[in-house]
């Protein structure tokens, strides 16, 4: 067996988070995602909704948090098409948009589209689930 074949899988050489509960207190996010739900945490003590999901509230530092559903459609605030310089495993062209789900929850999402010109400000995009390496999932979006 060559040295390369003997090498174990290097988890820090892929960018995907560990999603099982023994590795990640936000593992429910990924369980929900597999069901087509986009969720985050709300603090039961001070009502703060956070993105990304938390295990301790950044406002009151309480740890009594619950999962809430976000809208699965977000409004595009800005978009770009990346055609060069993408990381390995992310072949160009890639469409990205800053998406707004609530007034306080925004994130940058991949838009899965054949039409590279179609993602523009004020269009809506809805959640799809992307399978990635080693049984993990990440959120992605399609234009509606």
């Amino acid at each position: 067996m060559s040295q390369d074949e003997a090498r174990p899988y290097s988890f820090t050489l892929d960018p995907f988070p560990q999603q099982a509960p023994e590795w990640n207190r936000a593992s429910a996010f990924y369980d929900h995602l597999r069901e087509g739900r986009l969720t985050t945490t709300r603090c039961r003590t001070c009502d703060l909704v956070s993105w990304p999901p938390r295990s301790v509230c950044p406002e009151c530092h309480g740890d009594d948090l619950e999962w809430i559903d976000l809208p699965t459609e977000g409004r595009i605030l800005a978009a770009t098409v990346q055609v060069a310089g993408t990381p390995p495993g992310f072949p160009a062209a890639l469409v990205f948009a800053l998406l707004e789900f609530t007034p306080d929850v925004r994130f940058i999402g991949r838009i899965l589209t054949e039409d590279l010109e179609a993602a523009v400000a004020d269009r809506m995009a809805s959640l799809v689930v992307q399978e990635v390496s080693r049984d993990r999932v990440v959120p992605a979006f399609r234009l509606v």
Partner: protein, 393 residues
């Protein structure tokens, strides 16, 4: 509180930025040698404090604990202060602020700051993959978001709100590549027109390759000392007059809502102006963080040089080059020099040191007396230092 004044007495960089033909150690050695060679009165034994600024050697050269690596390489045995700094792209200026603070309060008299980043690996894909450690890897890196995407979206927001054009962005890029022609260590010295910038390889709309700073190996070092001892090392110390810093958030999408404004930069530079007792109009020369062309557009606005929304026109009208309001990025900035993360802020300080001493050769800004460095670590984390000649104290 009464604090001591602090001066830079020596500075230097590695010789040619780009793909460095040597190891991380070799890179540190080359920048350190430049500093010691430039200042005969300075030896390793004079240095009481040592700060290494390096962002991702763990990824790119499989090495942590780089402060002792660098100190050993340069024959320095710290007796008063010893650390590494990592704040992503702004690390170098953060390190200089730490050195300033320690000297100002009397913890050490003489501190060396070395910024070094060897980003290239033999495998280009691995080098690009490694850049994902600098974003929110779980929530942004995991879907492929890197800095060009974040700043392209920033540019889209600025263009939509203020009508900034791609030609104005290209004017920043053309200027800084042209400025780099006078800088021997610059990776991308190039006389290019706005049309040539626009016609170069597209990266992420609206950016072409010329709108983006590159992955670069490079190193720089400076030595800071207390005022009382400055003349042991040089007849022309350059003083740190003021500094400021502000930051908000990490997950890029949520630092604040509208990325066409950078309120934390206004806070940071406001602190620096107040501490230095100067205003925007007093700055003769500035090295600012043009990681992408849009960054310089927004920086010139938030610094108070251009009106808000007018940063594109400010560059296009020649107000940020020789003969204009303030010479921005005379060494070529990050666009012209490349951007070796932890080294960039230290190299910015090196350039302002040389400019204020009249040692910048073909890129000298005539009569430069007050200079500014601005380093950022994302749109909402900013680090600013203002320097002046002795008479500005």
């Amino acid at each position: 509180m009464e604090t001591r004044k602090v001066a830079v007495v020596a500075a230097g960089t590695s010789q040619k930025w780009g793909i460095f033909p040597g190891t991380y150690r070799d890179l540190v050695a080359e920048a350190g040698k430049a500093v010691f060679d430039s200042c005969p009165a300075l030896s390793g034994g004079d240095i009481e404090g040592f700060i290494a600024s390096s962002v991702m050697p763990e990824r790119n050269v499989f090495q942590s604990h780089v402060a002792p690596l660098a100190a050993e390489t340069l024959g320095v045995r710290p007796t008063k202060l010893f650390q590494r700094v990592e704040n992503m792209c702004g690390s170098g200026t953060v390190a200089i602020r730490n050195a300033y603070t320690a000297i100002a309060c009397g913890l050490a008299d003489v501190i060396m700051v070395v910024g070094a980043e060897k980003m290239h690996t033999p495998e280009w894909g691995e080098t690009v993959l490694n850049m994902l450690v600098g974003v929110d890897r779980e929530w942004e890196g995991a879907v492929g978001v890197t800095a060009p995407v974040q700043f392209a979206l920033t540019a889209q927001m600025h263009m939509r709100r203020f009508g900034t054009t791609v030609e104005q962005l290209a004017a920043v890029s053309a200027k800084n590549h042209r400025h780099a022609l006078g800088n021997p260590y610059a990776q991308f010295p190039k006389a290019c027109t706005i049309d040539e910038v626009r016609a170069s390889k597209p990266v992420a709309a609206p950016f072409t390759i010329f709108d983006c700073s590159s992955i670069t190996d490079g190193a720089a070092a400076v030595v800071l000392v207390c005022e009382e001892r400055a003349r042991e090392f040089t007849d022309q110390p350059i003083y740190l007059l003021g500094t400021g810093q502000a930051a908000s958030g990490f997950n890029y999408a949520n630092v604040h809502a509208d990325w066409s404004e950078w309120p934390t930069l206004r806070t940071a530079v406001g602190s620096a102006y107040r501490m230095a007792g100067v205003g925007p109009g007093d700055i003769d020369v500035a090295e600012v963080h043009d990681c992408f062309s849009i960054s310089e557009v927004i920086v010139t606005e938030e610094m108070g040089w251009a009106e808000k929304g007018g940063g594109g026109a400010f560059a296009a009208e020649g107000r940020s080059t020789y003969g204009g309001d303030v010479v921005v990025n005379p060494r070529g900035g990050l666009l012209g020099c490349g951007h070796p993360l932890g080294a960039t802020g230290v190299a910015q300080a090196t350039e302002v040191f040389r400019q204020l001493r009249g040692e910048a050769g073909p890129r000298q800004v005539d009569g430069a007396a007050i200079g500014l460095t601005h380093n950022l670590s994302g749109v909402a984390e900013h680090h600013v230092v203002i320097y002046g000649r002795e008479e500005a104290l």
